[in-house]
């Protein structure tokens, strides 16, 4: 139930005046994208380690305290640690065997790969966590439409639809209670799985119904009426925002350069 409120109030509990928090949402999005690209190109440990170190060094300027960061970013750790363990156990073996038990072996090579995958997940994910926790969705939509010139019909429809997510979360709970009231759900996992489909269908019907009303209400207030709509909230892409983007590019560049210099950088596709 905490999902909808968190999704809708991105910037609550965060110092939004911090240098990186107040950057233009599109600038923050660009940084996250550039970093992700740099780390998708290679799987090596040096590039990932340097990138993560630099990202962590930037965290004090994001306005996110340690607790706020953990509250929003713990999912990353949950994703990273098992990935590392699996890679260590099942990854391509090379070098000395560090641990061995039947089919499962941890070698120098697989251990390094494991560390690399953990670092990569964190280095790609952290900028995303910062983006989501320091950015109000409305501001992001304003910026995407005004600064990046994405279709305002698309951006605003997505934003309005997101507001319905909170309502649907409540509907989902009510649907579950109603099924129990009807006497369904006693047949263990299988029965619950079968019920899941029905519940999903009902949710879909309710969602379409609400979305239809929402679309009518939006059109009644002139949505899509004029080609050049105006914007009540101006979105500025200024010098500082350009600096932030350049900073992100530089960060990705330094990490990649470090990987190349160490001789570990290798383009993923060239395998």
């Amino acid at each position: 139930m905490s999902l909808p409120t968190d999704v809708l109030s991105g910037a609550v509990g965060v110092d939004t005046s911090a240098p990186l928090a107040r950057a233009n949402p599109s600038a923050k999005l660009a940084v996250a994208a550039v970093l992700a690209l740099a780390l998708v190109l290679t799987t090596d440990v040096v590039t990932a380690a340097v990138a993560l170190a630099l990202v962590v060094a930037c965290l004090p300027f994001t306005g996110l305290g340690a607790r706020a960061l953990w509250r929003r970013g713990w999912v990353l750790v949950v994703a990273a640690v098992p990935s590392g363990v699996f890679t260590a156990l099942l990854g391509v073996d090379s070098g000395d065997v560090l641990l061995g038990a039947g089919w499962f072996t941890v070698t120098e090579g697989s251990a390094v790969s494991a560390v690399a995958i953990v670092l990569r997940i964190l280095a790609i994910g952290l900028p995303g966590v910062v983006l989501l926790s320091t950015t109000d969705p409305t501001d992001l939509a304003d910026s995407l439409a005004q600064d990046l010139r994405l279709s305002h019909r698309f951006v605003l429809s997505a934003l309005a639809a997101m507001r319905l997510v909170g309502v649907l979360a409540e509907e989902w709970t009510a649907l579950g209670q109603a099924r129990r009231a009807r006497g369904l759900g006693d047949d263990g996992v299988l029965g619950r799985l079968r019920g899941f489909g029905g519940r999903l269908f009902a949710l879909l019907v309710l969602a379409v119904r609400r979305a239809t009303v929402l679309a009518t209400a939006m059109e009644a207030r002139g949505f899509g009426l004029v080609r050049e709509r105006t914007w009540a909230r101006p979105s500025h892409f200024g010098l500082w925002d350009a600096t932030v983007v350049l900073g992100g590019v530089a960060l990705a560049g330094v990490a990649t350069a470090a990987g190349v210099a160490a001789g570990t950088w290798q383009l993923v596709l060239s395998g």
Partner: protein, 521 residues
């Protein structure tokens, strides 16, 4: 409450042989409509469900797309075709019409109140320098109690409708199109919105076309009543006194709440009190995920063959209490005991019962009927409960037929429950629950938003099952329902607002707090 401000230019409405058929339908929603409405006139539009009232309002708003349906005749505002009139608004920075719909939750577009009101102005290309002044003016005009930055997720149903009205008013429409704007509000929210609409119409000189079942409270506001004929055309047209005087009985039979023709109510309880079924002592219940209990310190006794009404203002936790009484939420503190006459060997705590045991003992009717539907046809829906109880197929079929007839659903046995009208869905949701012959019925706002005909049928049915010895427990705002049925009444009060959890948006429009809304109350 309404600051003096410039009036608007109300348009003249004219329909000549106008008709509309939705793309997927064979029947025309509206046909052969001839209607003239003078500038600034306030019209109440009546007619049975399916007479095309909402379609006409959407047509007037210029929202019916010729790509998605067939049109005949013409529909004009000030001599301009309605879609052209809408498009002209985009050039003028103002709208000819303003449409307010029924469902509060589905009309909020943005996350902050001020942004939501600004949405229409942006769409009409109003220059930024003018937007915020017009937003503030509209929010003040509807008596909105919060500032621009207030999150829309925390609004009650009444507050949401008020905000949607502000968003419409910011566009300075000359004709308000109101499609049952108070049907999903509690009495306090509905009264507040009605007063605001009356003030606004008076202050601006705008006209209005209103669709509403509960006509009584709106009558002082309108100068003309138009009744649409389901097949097409106009059935009656004239002053409220004239039309309701001559056609009152016929309108009431069609489901309209006409003040002089109240729905029939059942005779008082025939039998005596049965054994005690359920007992709550100092009971507290929390909503899932909430920190503070939604309702606390409840003492309640429910006896077989009686009807208990649970009343209280929005935010008092009525729906949450209903979930606990239905065995769908665990008590947080205090005790909730099912006596043997109800439990029948299943143990004293309803929330611990297996789903099948629960459905055989307590029938729960949710506020939103669609939440309860689990089958593809109406007949299957009714058979689900008996089948789970192991009733043999022949007897199940007999039972289903009986219920179909009793609830006037027999023509719809093969229809998909989701495609039924609001009143039909409500009747079906009650019928599915009766199919398992429970000893206790718990209903959350069973009469909410229903027309007078469905209301009378529901009340008669509840009286009938009560006289058969079933205990009926209804959470409600409906004073008429309480007067017609209740033996015992429990009044809940709003818990301390500082400890109450308001962070989660509420599913139900009614059970929301209107506290702190100042002008709303």
């Amino acid at each position: 409450m309404v600051p003096a401000r410039a009036g608007v230019v109300p348009p003249v409405l004219s329909a000549r042989g106008w008709g509309w058929r939705h793309g997927t339908r064979r029947a025309w929603a509206v046909r052969g409509l001839d209607l003239d409405v003078a500038a600034g006139e306030r019209v109440l539009l009546l007619g049975p469900s399916g007479a095309g009232k909402s379609t006409l309002l959407q047509g007037l708003a210029g929202l019916l797309d010729p790509d998605n349906g067939d049109e005949e005749g013409r529909l004009h505002l000030d001599g301009v075709e309605v879609r052209a009139a809408r498009a002209a608004g985009g050039r003028a920075g103002a709208a000819r019409t303003g449409l307010l719909l029924q469902d509060p939750l589905s009309q909020t577009v943005l996350a902050r109140c001020g942004d939501d009101v600004a949405f229409g102005l942006e769409n009409h290309g109003v220059p930024r320098e003018q937007i915020w002044a017009r937003v503030d003016e509209a929010m003040a005009a509807v008596g909105f109690p919060y500032g621009r930055a207030h999150p829309t997720a925390r609004l009650s149903g009444g507050e949401r409708q008020r905000l949607a009205l502000a968003g419409v008013l910011a566009l300075r429409p000359g004709l308000l199109l109101l499609d049952e704007p108070t049907a999903m509000l509690d009495p306090v929210g509905a009264d507040g919105l009605r007063v605001t609409v009356a003030d606004l119409l008076g202050a601006t000189g705008a006209g209005c076309v209103l669709v509403e079942h509960r006509v009584g409270p709106w009558l002082p506001l309108v100068d003309r009543v138009v009744v649409l004929e389901p097949g097409g055309g106009v059935r009656a047209d004239g002053s409220p006194a004239d039309v309701l005087g001559r056609h009152g009985a016929e309108l009431a039979a069609g489901g309209v709440w006409v003040p002089d023709h109240p729905p029939r109510t059942p005779p008082p309880r025939a039998g005596g009190r049965g054994p005690r079924l359920l007992e709550a002592q100092d009971l507290s219940v929390r909503r899932p995920g909430a920190l503070a209990p939604a309702v606390a310190g409840v003492d309640l006794r429910v006896d077989a063959g009686t009807c208990t009404a649970v009343l209280g203002p929005n935010g008092a936790g009525k729906s949450t209490l209903a979930l606990a009484l239905s065995g769908l939420a665990a008590p947080d503190a205090g005790r909730l005991v099912a006596h043997e006459a109800l439990a029948d060997g299943a143990g004293p705590s309803p929330h611990r019962w297996r789903a099948r045991e629960l459905a055989a003992r307590i029938g729960t009717v949710f506020q939103e009927p669609a939440h309860q539907f689990v089958a593809a046809t109406v007949a299957d829906e009714l058979a689900v409960g008996p089948r789970l109880q192991g009733t043999d197929p022949t007897r199940t079929a007999v039972l289903v037929d009986e219920l179909l007839q009793r609830l006037r659903l027999d023509g719809l046995a093969a229809a998909n429950p989701f495609t039924l009208s609001g009143g039909e869905q409500r009747r079906l949701s009650v019928a599915t629950v009766l199919a398992t012959r429970p000893r206790l019925l718990v209903l959350d706002e069973p009469t909410f938003g229903q027309d007078s005909r469905t209301w009378a049928e529901l009340v008669a049915l509840l009286a009938e099952v009560r006289d058969e010895g079933v205990a009926v427990c209804a959470v409600t705002h409906d004073a008429d329902l309480v007067a017609a049925l209740a033996d015992d009444v429990l009044h809940l009060t709003t818990p301390d607002p500082t400890t109450r959890d308001r962070s989660t948006p509420d599913l139900t429009a009614v059970d929301r707090a209107d506290t702190g809304s100042g002008g709303a109350a």
